[in-house]
Subunit: 514 residues, 2 copies
Amino acid sequence: MADKAEIQEAIKTQGEVVRKLKAEKASKEQIDEEVAKLLELKAQLGGDDGKHVFVLKTAKGTRDYNPKQMAIREKVFNTIISCFKRHGAETIDTPVFELKETLTGKYGEDSKLIYDLKDQGGELLSLRYDLTVPFARYLAMNKITNIKRYHIAKVYRRDNPAMTRGRYREFYQCDFDIAGQYDPMIPDAECLKIVHEILSELELGDFRIKVNDRRILDGMFAVCGVPDEKFRTICSTVDKLDKMSWEDVKNEMVNEKGLAPEVADQIGEYVSMQGGMELAEKLLQDPKLSQSKQACAGLTDMRQLFSFLQLFRVTDKVVFDLSLARGLDYYTGVIYEAVLTQSGPAPAPPQQQNGAAGEESVSVGSVAGGGRYDGLVGMFDPKGRKVPCVGVSIGIERVFSIMEQKAEASAEKVRTTETQVMVASAQKNLLEERLKLTADLWDAGIKAEVMYKKNPKLLSQLQHCEDTGIPLVAIIGEQELRDGVVKLRTVASREEVDVSRAELVEEIKKRTFQ
Amino acid sequence: MADKAEIQEAIKTQGEVVRKLKAEKASKEQIDEEVAKLLELKAQLGGDDGKHVFVLKTAKGTRDYNPKQMAIREKVFNTIISCFKRHGAETIDTPVFELKETLTGKYGEDSKLIYDLKDQGGELLSLRYDLTVPFARYLAMNKITNIKRYHIAKVYRRDNPAMTRGRYREFYQCDFDIAGQYDPMIPDAECLKIVHEILSELELGDFRIKVNDRRILDGMFAVCGVPDEKFRTICSTVDKLDKMSWEDVKNEMVNEKGLAPEVADQIGEYVSMQGGMELAEKLLQDPKLSQSKQACAGLTDMRQLFSFLQLFRVTDKVVFDLSLARGLDYYTGVIYEAVLTQSGPAPAPPQQQNGAAGEESVSVGSVAGGGRYDGLVGMFDPKGRKVPCVGVSIGIERVFSIMEQKAEASAEKVRTTETQVMVASAQKNLLEERLKLTADLWDAGIKAEVMYKKNPKLLSQLQHCEDTGIPLVAIIGEQELRDGVVKLRTVASREEVDVSRAELVEEIKKRTFQ
C-alpha cells in the first residue's frame, strides 16, 4: 500500500484533472470516470483517518441498466427471441463461471482477458468469456449430437473498456447455433436467414452480410505460395482489410510477416473480389485456385449456399467477399459477418463481439458474425468425437446503443411500465375505496396503480400518469360511489366518461388493447 | 504444486472412495461428485505425462439448465413478471460483480460465503450475494428516492451445496421492492398482495403467509426482561421455532444464551400467539406489552396492515404470528414469510433465500419472504440520507424444483420449442420446395421447422413432430405442387386435409391459436 503522502499527492493531481475537465465542459461520463478515481484515492486515505469514504460506483467497465434501458433491452430481446423461436430453437443456460481449465487453450492470446475467481479453497474458476465454449462443453458433457439452441447471457472480458463507445467488461451475447451432422449448407443458410430477419426487424438501417469460407482462404493462400506455417498470421492480416487500405495490409504482409511482394500481390487480386453465386462458379474455373482441393470444396459449398439463400430470398443483402477472414482459429468452413452500411446517429465502434465462437476484432458497424466450427466439441470429448456446429452471434450491445440513441432522438417517450390505469380520487378520505377498486382491477388482470397516500392531490395523480405514460385514470368520488360508476379519463385527450363498475374492466381492456 | 507421488497416492485413495460408493449403490450425484474429484486428480497427473485428462463438469454447486428446465423456468418467470407488471413495477439490472467494499459489512458472518474475484490488478471485486444490497447501492448512487422495481437475476454464495435438495451456489433471486416515503402500510400491504397472487397463480398448493414486526419483537423482548445486547441473538433463537420444539428453543435461550428461565417462559407465552387483526387489538390492551412504545407502534401498524389486507381480500392466507423472527439484522418494521402448507411431491428443503434483504435460513416449505428495511440505503449515502424500503423475494429455486417434479409426475410432455408446423415431404428431390415453403411460413410469422436432409423419410419427419410436440405437418409432393395445395396433417389425430397455398398461413394460425 502506498504511503499517506503519496496518496495525498495523487489526490491533488487527480483533483486537478477533474477541475480541468469540468472547466473544459467535458462529457458527464468522462468527468464521472475521473471523479470516481478521485473518490477511490480519497477512500484509500480515509481508511487511515478512521473515517471511511465510501466509493459509490459500479466496477470498472460495467454499468447498471436503468428502467428506460431495460425497456429497450426487453424490446430488442423480444424481437430476437421471437426470431429464434420461429426457427424452432430451444434454449439452454449455463453457469456464469466454469472450471478455469474448461476455458484454457480456447482463446489464444486473449486468454489474458479472462476474469479468474479468487482461490478460496476448492476448484479454480473463471467467468465465462463467451457462450460458445460453454455450449461445446455442454454438448460434450451430455453427449448431445443434435440440437438447435439459442443462449442469451452476459460474458466477461478484462478488456480496456470504452464505455462511451459501447465497450464494456460485462456484456451480453446472443447466440444461435445448430449442432449436428446434416446435408451441406442447409443449417448454414438458416443462420444467414436469421441474421437477415433480425436485422430487418430491428430497423437499424441498411446492412450487408459478407460471406466467405475458411477453406477458400486456405486454398487461396496455398496457391499463392504462402508457406503453411504462415496461413494463420496472414489470415489475421487479411482480416484488417475492412479497417486498413490494401497498401497498408500488403506492407504488413511483406515487411512484418516476411511474405514475398509477388505473393502478396496475388493475394491482393483475390481479396478484392466480391460477388454472388456467379463468383463462386467463376472461381471454380480459375486455373490457379481450382488446383486446391480445399478451395474447390469451399467454392462448391458456397455455390450451394447461394442457391439456398435464393430460396430464402436473402441474396439482396449477402455478398461473397474473399477479403472476409475473421481472426478466430477454430472456424472450419463458412464464415460470415453482418455490417450496417448506413452510419446511424453517432455511430459507435462496437463492443468486441465474437462470432459463433471466440474472439476477434470486428469492423466498425459489424452487428453479427459467425461461422462453422466442426472441431470445437471434439476438444471436450474424451474420445475426441466431433459434433459439427454452425452458429451466429448478434452484437447486441451495439444494437442496444443504436436503439438507445434512436430513443433519445425520438419524440416518443419510452415507457418503463405497462400500467393501463391509475385509480385516483379528487376527494379526501377515499383511500380504502381506491384500494378496493385497485384490487378489483388487479384480480381481473388489469395493470393498475394507486398512490400510496391517504389524500393525494388529483393533480399529482394526473401528473404521475403524464410522467409515466399511463393512458387512463379511473376517478372515484362520493357521487361516483353512490351511482356505482367510475369516471374514466383518457389522459391524452382529457375526455371523461362515466362507466358502470360492472363494465369497467371490459372498457379498460377495450381502450388499451394493443 | 504437489509432486507426482503425492498425487498418485491421492488418486489411489480417491479411487477407493469411488469404488466403495458404487458398491454401496450410493446416489448417482454423490458418485459423480467423487468421480469428478478423481478425474481432477488424474488431470493434475496427466499434465506431467503429457496426456491431459480433461474434467468435463460444471463448477461445484452449479448446474446447466437443459431445454426442458428452461421451458419451466420461462413459464414461472412469465407468471411472476406478469404480476410485477400488473402492479406497475419497472425493472433494473446491475452487474454480476460489485466492488468488494460495497458488500462489506452487510451480511454479518455470512460474508465468508461471498465469492471474491482474483486480484488481477485494478479494483477488488466480489460476485453479488443478493439483489438487495446492489439495489440500495443503485438508489444511493443515482439519488433515487422513489421507485417500484423488480429484479430477477442470479446471485452467488459459497455455501455447502446440496443440489439434490435444490441448494446451489449460483441461484436465482426474484425481488420486488418499493422505495419511498409513503403513508404507513400501503406498500407493505401491496407486497403481501403480490405474494398472494403469485403463489395462487403458480398453483403450488395451499400456503400461509406469516407476518410479524421487528418492533413488536423488540418490544416483547424488552418487557419480558431480555437485556438489550441480547435482542439479536435471542431473535435468531426465536427464528428456529419453525424447525425446533419450544422445549429446545427455551433450552438454547437459557443454557446457551444465558437467559433466566422465567424470562424465556414469558417469551414462550407471546410467541405461541397467532391470529389476525383481533390479536393486534388484544395485544394493544396487553398490560405488559402496551408499556413498550416500540411494540405499540408495531401493533398499530399491524392493525392498519390487516385492514388493507381485508380490502385486498388476502386475509384468508395471512396470519399474524409472533414467532416469526427472520434472522436478518436490517429489518426495521414489518417482516413476513410465506410457507407451503401441503407437502408436494417429495418436498425438498429450500435454497437458502434471503428476504427482501440479506440472508437467513428459512423454514422447510418457505417460498417467499421479506420485510421493511428503512436503513439500508442510508448506509450507502454519503450523508446518510434514508430511503424507506419494503420488499419481497420469491424463493424461485424452490418453485422451480416443485414445478420440475410436477412436470415429471405429469403425463403431459413439456414442450421445449413453440414450433407450429413441420414442412415435410414423402417424396425425394423436394428439398428446394420444402425450403421455399418454410421461408414463406417464416416470413408470415409462422414458427416452422424443416429437416436439414436432402431426402428425409416421412416417418422420421413425423417422429420428430411426435418427439417435440409439433402439432401440424405441411406435406408437399409432386401432386400437391401441381395442384397448388399442401396436405396439412394434424399430428394427434392423423387427419389430413388439402389446403391451398394461399390459405395455408391462416389455416395454421387458426389451428394453433392458443
